[in-house]
Amino acid sequence: MTPAEIDRILQEYLSQPQPDSTSDAGLAAIRAAIFIEDVFDVTLPDELLMADPFARLPELRAFLLTSIGGG
């Protein structure tokens, strides 16, 4: 998967409205993590699960590039 493909999928997630049930920040983080782990077949470290991983996008992106060998 190329960096551009990774970015496109991350943007796809961000473009979608989040359901009301994720007004709970902790749960929103879990929701996002389920999406990321499923799509990219990775296991996020707990520190990326403690808050919305998309709130730390550069860190998340770097993790994905390293984990799945983007490029």
Binding site: E12, Y13, S21, L27, R31, A33, I34, V39, D46, L49
Partner: protein, 663 residues
């Protein structure tokens, strides 16, 4: 929609009176007339629900020189386009029916014709020159087709009760078929719950020739390798789905010579198909809904919202517990198999409402959950996989709250519940991991079986179905979809809860989500577009956001359920209940342990209102199994049949070279 039946023999010529008795058993599937064709080796029968070319489409029907005959149940929705191609190729048509397309398509394309059909069918073709019978069933199993073999003959029919009119065919339970019901919710084709009775698997054809039967697939459910889906673009896929579903829905609404209505459940799927009809066709629309006296099962508010928004002529039936119990024996007469929920009974009452309003055809939203990724079992599997990646993480427990929002209000219960839920049958390497909890929960029914039946089944846990070799490269969601499309969909959703409950009242169901172009397209989608994280049917919601209000698109998913065991004890309960649960009848059936059944019945009599899922399932399994035994094995099912086939009866006697219409 119709009933088909017949006998082919390479020994003594088949007896036409057997086939007319079979036609009488299939009267409910085709009350508008019937017919059979006979020659020295075969008799093909048919009962007709006239929908396309209501006058000219009499069956059985032949090609130009009467060498190929067809008996057909279903619809070929693209018959107009195929007919044009066949006329171009020189075939001469005598009718405007979709049935006639089948014989010419067979002549033109042979077995490949089935891959060209877009529809729902069970077909019997008799090639008189080759002395060959060909049976075919639609790709996903909308229409049923059963058969019985002897050394020198094959008997087939849309329903098993028609096969049982032949007194030479024995009627007894097949423990293997029962075991499948008590694991997968239905017998898996070719097995049925009756010994010696087989069903043609969906997407297959069977060729019977010179006493030999060959069964093979003409189509299989397939998915691309994960990550190699043709389009990764969300907007392109939204447009692709919308375009195909609109075409599929219009095709099913407009290709009929009688008015077509629509089911409106209050959920997303039927709201989409109904909204398409209202926005893309001009005809007035009658919609039909099922409501419950039990508020916890009722979806009336959402149904009214959609009916009002779309301006349909809306009708509803409100079902009580007692009505479910009252019709239950008749429901089992039509399902011809034990069932683990009462949900088919209200569907029977709904199709009766449709018929009472004079309708013979309805469009429904069935199939969307399987095709677009809507079932809770898919979401649960994804959440369990999330937890399995790091079971020691203290943060992942909370994922269960996304499935069960009530957990958010009871945070203290979450960790214990989550560990129990996530840890159940958790093996990420298991290709059937998604379904293992359901199968194992259902499999607990086996503890109630008699020793004799248990011995036949063996003690092992239910085996996984054999997924295709290529499934190793599929997304886990695709594997779960495959399992759902090959077990629950054909065996229960489309059969016990679908075709059988509709046809019991002579109503044909049409299912846009099962259109071959919709299914093929959906199977090629990236899994995330169907199940977006834990948001089910995500693409469907996006594709029809302009036609279906937010309140319906994003309402909490409510699986279709009906009151189960409690139905049998409402208002004193029906008279037949104590009889079928009596130790004598339970012993006669030989399936369940009479002592355990008596214990369950005592418990139900006082506490059925508080029954959980397992006890409800046990009660339904026992009661329905006992009714199957009573109606199909202990009693001769022929006594329930009408004495005559639906009139007028068209007879094509090729032995005496005569044809006539009997009234």
């Amino acid at each position: 929609m119709c009933g088909i039946c017949g006998v082919v023999s390479d020994g003594a010529p088949p007896d036409p009176s057997i086939v007319t008795s079979m036609m009488a058993q299939l009267c409910h599937r085709g009350p508008d007339g019937s017919g059979y064709v006979r020659d020295h080796q075969a008799v093909l029968g048919q009962t007709r629900l006239a929908i396309i070319d209501t006058v000219g489409g009499v069956q059985p029907l032949a090609n130009e020189d009467d060498t190929i005959w067809v008996s057909f149940n279903g619809e070929i929705f693209n018959y107009v386009e195929l007919g044009a191609q066949l006329r171009e190729a020189g075939h001469r048509f005598r009718t405007a029916s979709d049935t006639e397309v089948i014989v010419h398509a067979w002549e033109q394309w042979g077995e490949d014709c089935f891959n060209r059909f877009n529809g729902q069918w069970a077909i019997a073709l008799w090639d008189r020159k080759l002395r060959r019978l060909v049976l075919s069933r639609d790709r996903l199993g909308v229409r049923p087709l059963f058969y019985h073999r002897t050394q020198h003959s094959l008997t087939f029919a849309s329903e098993i009760k028609a096969i049982f009119v032949d007194p030479r065919i024995s009627r007894q339970f097949d423990p293997i078929g029962l075991g499948q019901v008590f694991s997968y919710w239905s017998a898996i084709a070719p097995t049925t719950v009756f010994s010696g009775i087989e069903q043609l698997p969906p997407g297959h054809l069977a060729v019977y020739e010179a006493g030999s039967l060959t069964v093979r697939p003409y189509w299989t459910i397939d998915f691309p390798p994960r990550g190699q889906e043709p389009s990764q673009d969300l907007h392109e896929n939204i447009e692709g789905l919308r375009e195909r579903l609109i075409v599929a829905t219009k095709l099913r609404f407009e290709r009929s010579d009688v008015p077509v209505g629509a089911y409106l459940s209050g959920g997303l799927d039927s709201s989409v198909t109904t909204a398409i009809i209202r926005n893309y066709t001009d005809a007035p629309l009658d919609t039909f809904s099922l409501r419950f006296e039990d508020a916890s099962f009722d979806e009336g508010a959402y149904q009214s919202l959609m009916a009002e928004q779309l301006g349909t002529n809306h009708h509803e039936v409100v079902v009580s517990r007692r009505e479910i119990a009252d019709v239950f024996p008749e429901v089992i007469w039509h399902t011809e198999t034990p069932i683990l929920r009462s949900a088919p009974a209200p569907m029977y009452l709904l199709s009766r409402l449709v018929r009472n309003f004079g309708y013979r055809v309805v469009v429904t939203g069935e199939g969307a959950d399987e095709v677009m990724g809507g079932y809770d079992i898919f979401r649960e599997a994804r959440v369990r996989s999330f937890w399995a990646r790091n079971p020691h993480s203290s943060l992942r427990d909370r994922a269960v709250e996304l499935l069960y929002p009530w957990m958010q209000r009871n945070p203290s219960q979450t960790p214990a519940f989550a560990r129990s839920f996530f840890g159940m049958d958790l093996d990420p390497a298991d290709p059937a991991m998604s379904h293992r909890p359901r199968w194992n929960t259902t499999g607990t029914l086996r503890s109630m079986l008699t020793e004799h039946v248990r011995a036949r089944l063996g003690d092992e846990a239910p085996a996984a179905l054999q997924l295709p070799v290529s499934s190793a490269s599929w997304d886990p969601l695709a594997r779960a979809q495959w399992l759902e499309m090959t077990t629950l969909l054909p065996g229960y959703i489309l059969a016990s809860q679908g075709d059988r409950m509709l046809m019991a009242n002579s109503v044909e169901g049409r299912f846009p989500f099962l259109d071959v172009n919709v299914v093929t397209f959906a199977n090629q989608l990236p899994a995330r577009h169907k199940l977006f994280g834990v948001d089910e049917k995500h693409l469907l919601k996006l594709a029809f956001a302009d036609l279906v209000p937010e309140a319906v698109r994003h309402r909490p998913k409510q699986p279709y359920r009906a009151p189960d065991a409690a139905s049998f004890y409402a208002g004193g309960g029906p008279d037949w209940l104590a009889e079928v649960l009596s130790p004598a009848e339970v012993r006669a059936a030989g399936v369940f342990d009479p002592v355990q059944v008596s214990g369950l019945a005592r418990k139900a009599a006082t506490r059925s209102d508080r029954f959980g899922n397992t006890d409800n399932m046990r009660m339904l399994a026992v009661v329905s199994t006992q009714l199957v035994h009573r109606q199909f094995i202990a009693d001769d099912p022929a006594v329930h049949a009408r004495s005559t086939a639906p009139e007028p009866v068209h007879v094509f006697d090729l032995v005496n070279n005569e044809s006539e219409q009997q009234r």
